[in-house]
């Protein structure tokens, strides 16, 4: 009998534990509009996840200081996705329970896929902050929107930009890429479309992002000696690659990253200084002519004591996009907000692109990467012309 009681008691306790989560922070309030944020705050991507949340907070504060939306204050509800797809789905459910008007997230593509499905199921708008996977919006979802360029856009940018960047004697290309969704996606697209540029691929070298050294890969590259080297990868692995190239004093006529996690990052130039001068990268970035970008950069530095990681600009912009839609919708109702998001036409933003417009699938039609070059230990936008902060410096030029 005693054992039976123990057993039943245990189960009852555990079930009680589960129900203790019911109604987590559900208190309804009419003068606040909630926006949900799902980002990895623990695990290997916690740094970027936290940066995205930080910049979202800056946007929220800015809007609230200016009087809020139609007289109501905005409130950011943050839930950790734990960096896993399952965690992100649970987080989405939790936020929907808290009556958020929209979801934002998620930094990783797997999580974004799962959240977009949950958003669809519950008819809640979902604005992707960062997730580049090309298949993300291919399921015909009506409630998901993405501001940032996808892997396809970045790859197309490369195909478009390269003819006017390369010199006539450049003929051959080698791609070194990390072998997951993102690196392999970009490399595959470029491989398929390279003939449009008149170049020829002489080497495709995949590696695992968790590799502890890329020494043998660089040896292979030296043997191939391409005119243009395209490295695609995350921060830490591309850092390894750059270190290997710089330490061994290997030179290529042109090194051009595509959506490179390292080359566009302020931490990268802090580490290598002028040693990485000349490296190119096609990536997302803020518009250097935008006052809003200035505001965000300064505010971030002031509040968090460091330069904003580039990906985090999409945290800020996601909130601004939702705020714009909320103003026009005049209500936080999911259906009306979705309608307003779909019809967005936003010219006042900090991205290097024309107005923000979403197509049928929810992709930002005008999204584009810019070409940056590292000059004197700093990232400088060199292409397209309307956002350029400087001219391209060719090998042998610019150094006294």
């Amino acid at each position: 009998m005693k054992r039976l009681i123990c057993v039943l008691l245990c189960f009852a306790l555990c079930a009680g534990l589960m129900f203790s989560l019911t109604g987590c922070g559900e208190e309804e309030s009419s003068d606040v509009i909630r926006i949900g944020s799902i980002h990895p705050l623990t695990g290997s991507m916690a740094y970027e996840g936290q940066a995205l949340v930080n910049s979202q907070k800056i946007a929220i504060d800015r809007i609230n200081e200016a009087g809020g939306i139609n007289g109501k204050k905005l409130e950011l509800k943050v839930v950790d996705s734990l960096g896993t797809a399952g965690g992100a789905a649970t987080a989405a459910q939790k936020l929907i329970n808290m009556n958020v008007c929209a979801l934002t997230g998620t930094y990783t593509s797997g999580s974004a896929q799962v959240v977009s499905r949950t958003a669809e199921k519950f008819s809640v708008p979902f604005v992707v902050t960062v997730a580049a996977s090309e298949t993300l919006l291919t399921n015909g979802y009506k409630y998901s929107f993405r501001i940032q360029p996808s892997t396809v856009t970045f790859s197309q940018n490369f195909i478009e930009y390269i003819p006017s960047i390369k010199t006539d004697d450049m003929k051959t290309v080698a791609i070194i890429y990390e072998d997951s969704n993102y690196g392999a996606g970009i490399a595959g697209y470029i491989e398929k479309n390279i003939e449009k540029t008149g170049l020829e691929i002489i080497g495709m070298i995949p590696y695992s992002a968790s590799a502890s050294t890329l020494s043998s890969e660089v040896t292979k590259l030296v043997a191939l000696s391409p005119d243009i080297l395209i490295p695609v990868g995350y921060y830490s692995d591309q850092n390894l690659l750059a270190k290997e190239i710089i330490d061994r004093d290997v030179t290529f006529p042109m090194i051009m990253g595509v959506a490179n996690g390292a080359f566009s990052d302020a931490k990268f130039t802090d580490t290598y200084g002028t040693a990485a001068d000349g490296f190119f990268d096609i990536n997302y970035r803020y518009n250097p002519n935008s006052d809003e970008a200035d505001y965000l950069l300064n505010k971030y530095r002031e509040l968090y004591g460091e330069e904003i990681p580039v990906c985090a600009i999409y945290g800020y912009e996601s909130i601004m996009v939702i705020a714009d839609a909320l103003r026009r919708a005049g209500t936080a109702d999911h259906e009306a907000l979705r309608e307003a998001l779909a019809q967005i036409n936003m010219t006042d933003h900090l991205l290097p692109q024309n107005e923000i417009l979403f197509d049928e699938a929810g992709e930002n039609i005008n999204s584009a990467g810019v070409l940056i070059q590292i000059q004197n230990g700093k990232q400088v936008i060199v292409y397209p012309k309307e956002y350029a902060e400087g001219e391209i410096i060719r090998k042998g030029e610019g150094k006294e």
């Binding site: 005693k2 039976l4 079930a15 989560l21 109604g23 916690a46 329970n97 797997g110």
Partner: protein, 321 residues
């Protein structure tokens, strides 16, 4: 009161609790309920092979991933309904389990070495699928959004809940029947002392392979369910070592080698994880620390798991100890 009676009453109570749960839960709690049941199914699957038969697996993700990929690939490429794909996936996982088992036992890998071998197989499959373009490679596979019950997709999470509840019940009934059958007795004998069992005429290899295959089949069911519920899989999600851990933890907490241990473990650990996430939002990482500390505490003070502990209570005298 004997164990048989306790089992029967607990089963009834659990079944009633499981059936009425969705009527009291909001969508968030229902989602946690589904996660509890996925962990419970994985736990029960691990329980068959490791808890009862004593073959410690650290790579259950391989069976989970095979289940998810088989049904999803068959569905997106050939239009085979995942209901059928689920059964084929279970079959494929069972076959792979038998092959892994045969290879390992053929080369006399035991205990820790066998555990390491299963871990290696999970990694091999992850890398294999990651580099197979026809399976979507690293990009993964997105399942079309149809909400058609014939395609194993439901408009309401409540239906998903009942589907996984049925699978967990099936696994539990299987274990209950198994533990009383000749198969179960042979497995316990093998776990206790393989040589002695062999000397008494137990066909050790055969029974070990049966245990691995049936365990793999249930893990594959969980994999298919996961794919259909979340609608997206990629190798880093379904072949992740975290899935293997998710299969082990409920058993460790609840008591491996017991019928209800994994159920109790899952019912405790998943909500606990969620509560930690909800309580410690201000400082990132604290949730993981608390969660880890609880598991360490269990292993230190309750190494047999909750259920193992309770089953040791015998009468009034034993209870005091």
């Amino acid at each position: 009161m004997n164990t048989k009676k306790i089992n029967r009453i607990t089963l009834t109570a659990l079944l009633v609790l499981g059936l009425i749960f969705p009527f009291f839960a909001d969508y968030y709690v229902l989602c946690i309920g589904i996660n509890v049941l996925i962990a419970a199914l994985l736990g029960q699957s691990w329980n068959i092979m490791s808890g009862y038969a004593g073959q410690f697996s650290f790579g259950h993700a391989v069976f989970f991933g095979i289940g998810a990929y088989t049904s999803t690939a068959l569905y997106t490429m050939f239009g085979v309904t995942p209901w059928l794909g689920m059964i084929i996936g279970a079959g494929v996982a069972a076959a792979v389990g038998a092959i892994i088992g045969f290879l390992s036992f053929r080369y006399k890998l035991r205990d820790d070495y066998f555990a390491l071998a299963t871990l290696a197989f999970a990694e091999i499959f992850r890398i294999l699928v990651n580099n197979t373009k026809s399976l979507g490679g690293a990009t993964g596979i997105l399942i079309p959004y149809l909400q058609n019950p014939m395609e194993y997709q439901f408009a309401s999470d409540k239906t998903y809940y009942y589907v996984i509840l049925i699978f967990v019940a099936l696994a539990t009934v299987y274990i209950a029947l198994m533990s009383k059958s000749k198969l179960g007795l042979n497995l316990v004998a093998i776990k206790g002392n393989q040589e002695a069992a062999a000397a008494l005429g137990v066909n050790v290899l055969k029974y070990k392979l049966i245990a691995i295959s049936s365990s793999a089949a249930f893990a594959a069911l969980a994999g298919t369910f996961y794919a259909q519920y979340y609608g997206f899989i990629d190798p880093s999600i379904v072949f992740a070592s975290s899935i293997s851990v998710e299969a082990i933890v409920p058993c460790i907490i609840g008591g491996s080698g017991t019928l209800y241990g994994p159920l109790l473990g899952a019912l405790l650990i998943i909500p606990l994880q969620e509560i930690c996430n909800s309580l410690f939002t201000s400082i990132s990482g604290v949730n993981m620390i608390v969660y880890g500390a609880v598991i360490v505490a269990f292993i230190l003070f309750c190494p047999d798991g909750i259920f193992g502990r309770i089953m040791k209570i015998k009468g009034k005298k034993g209870a005091k100890k």
